[in-house]
Amino acid sequence: MSIFFSFVKKNIRRTPYQAFAATMVMFFTFFCLSTFLIVAVGSQQILKYYESKPQAIAFFKDGTNPADVQRIEDVLNQTGKIKSLHYVSKNEALQIYRQNNKNNPLLLELVTASILPASLEISTVSPDDLQPIANLVQKEPTVEEVVFPADVVSSLTQATRIIRIIGGSVVGFLAVFSTLVIVMIIGFKIRIKRAEIETMKLLGAPVWFIRIPYLLEGIIYSLTGAILGWAFSFAILWYVSPLLLNGLGEVSSQVWPPSILFITGLLAAQVIAALLVGGLGSFTALRRYLKI
């Protein structure tokens, strides 16, 4: 195998600018892929966090009895769209209020359990089911109103979807572009080494012996780009992390620090993608330009 690496080393040394250009194109592709995956996984984690919180709260009118609440819970559960339901009594509502305002004694003095409504915290399996469920609950005569504590989930769902579509499209385009760059560069190298290839054939070199160095060369460009792209994307993430964590507030603990499993998993995914892009590009060039 060392002989093939020695051939590749010579090939790269003979055309350093092409090698550099190929590696940079690969680096850009894999940097985008790495960044896209980091953002996609991060936004997914944030989405999960918000999804785990109650997505809608139905406030009951005064005088609602437990049987009414139970009946509403049964109706909701029968829809099959409910992830969780949590009934908050007037007393529990007061406890929550006190906890949230423990630093403001004035607010605590003014509020008693009687003025706080009982409520039902509703989480749905899919954020898309939230509105139909809210409409259903709103029709109940014992329900005063239904509120959405935050519209974060739907915004995040939308944002995650956009990230996936745009990121996926950009990475897909770059992967195709990078493969074509490898085809062009390896194809060009085969063309300028035609005489050498002819000589090797006359010396009795088997087909694989001639092909392997070119295959390896494409994979090396791709792998180098992938590792650089991975390292650079995490370096940038580390650099901007203070700013990012500040902006994310309470959610930051969900996404930072990234787990070792995620970091190494991303590297492994990049390496596999690099093998595919480099291998496919070189293989196509060999099929196209090296007819033995």
Partner: protein
């Protein structure tokens, strides 16, 4: 033994590069292939190297029809022959040592053995001192010695030399001929295509003359004349 039986080679519909060529060459022979440019000498050598296949007819090497070899068998076959060219065909980005080693590398031989064998061969061909130089740093004679070393390091049973002295001065040409004769003395069949009348006449070996693709003379202990 090499046998050409009614071999034709056409590159287009009208011109026969080889026209009904039949001949036998015994193992261990030294044969001069002579004729004007375009007579078909190089075509014969390229057919023997299995770069071309005949349009019709058969070429047998030790009883094997080489035009029927599969791709993988062709590379195996070529490892049994050596090829020397007028323009040397050395690889520019490899040193003398690496160029000669390449012939063994393609055979999958271990590096330690390659190093030993290349050293022995380069010393024998008196180019060991030049082992670290690249082809562009060599004289014509040194480059041709390197090419012959590369062609013979695998101990081929057949050596094909296509105008090996074509680009060399007379003195160097003689030294190249001496090398080929020495290789022939080891039992290797040598077929040398040449225009060099002096060299051919000096040796009085078998001379096969070609004209417009046909054999016009095939005579042992002969001189250069093409008739």
């Amino acid at each position: 033994m090499i046998s050409f039986k009614n071999v034709y080679k056409k590159f287009n519909l009208n011109i026969n590069a080889l026209d009904d060529v039949s001949l036998d060459i015994e193992n261990g022979e030294f044969v001069f292939l002579v004729g004007q440019s375009g007579a078909g000498k190089s075509t014969m050598l390229r057919l023997l190297a299995r770069e071309y296949v005949p349009t019709s007819g058969t070429i047998l090497i030790d009883g094997v029809d080489i035009s029927k070899l599969k791709s993988s068998q062709v590379s195996e076959y070529r490892r049994k022959i050596g090829f020397v060219f007028q323009d040397f065909k050395l690889l520019d980005d490899r040193t003398v040592f690496e160029n000669v080693a390449l012939a063994l590398e393609v055979r999958g031989i271990k590096e330690v053995e390659i190093n030993k064998e290349v050293e022995k061969t380069l010393k024998m061909f008196e180019i060991w001192e030049r082992r670290k130089l690249f082809p562009r740093q060599l004289s014509g004679g040194e480059a041709q010695r390197t090419a012959i070393a590369r062609a013979t390091i695998g101990k081929p049973s057949l050596l094909l030399a296509d105008e090996p002295t074509g680009d060399l001065d007379p003195q160097t040409s003689w030294s190249v001929l001496q090398l080929l004769l020495e290789i022939n003395s080891w039992g290797t069949t040598v077929i040398m295509a040449t225009h060099n009348k002096e060299i051919v006449d000096s040796q009085k070996r078998r001379v096969i003359a070609l004209k417009a693709g046909k054999i016009v003379k095939d005579k042992h202990q002969s001189l250069y004349e093409i008739h």
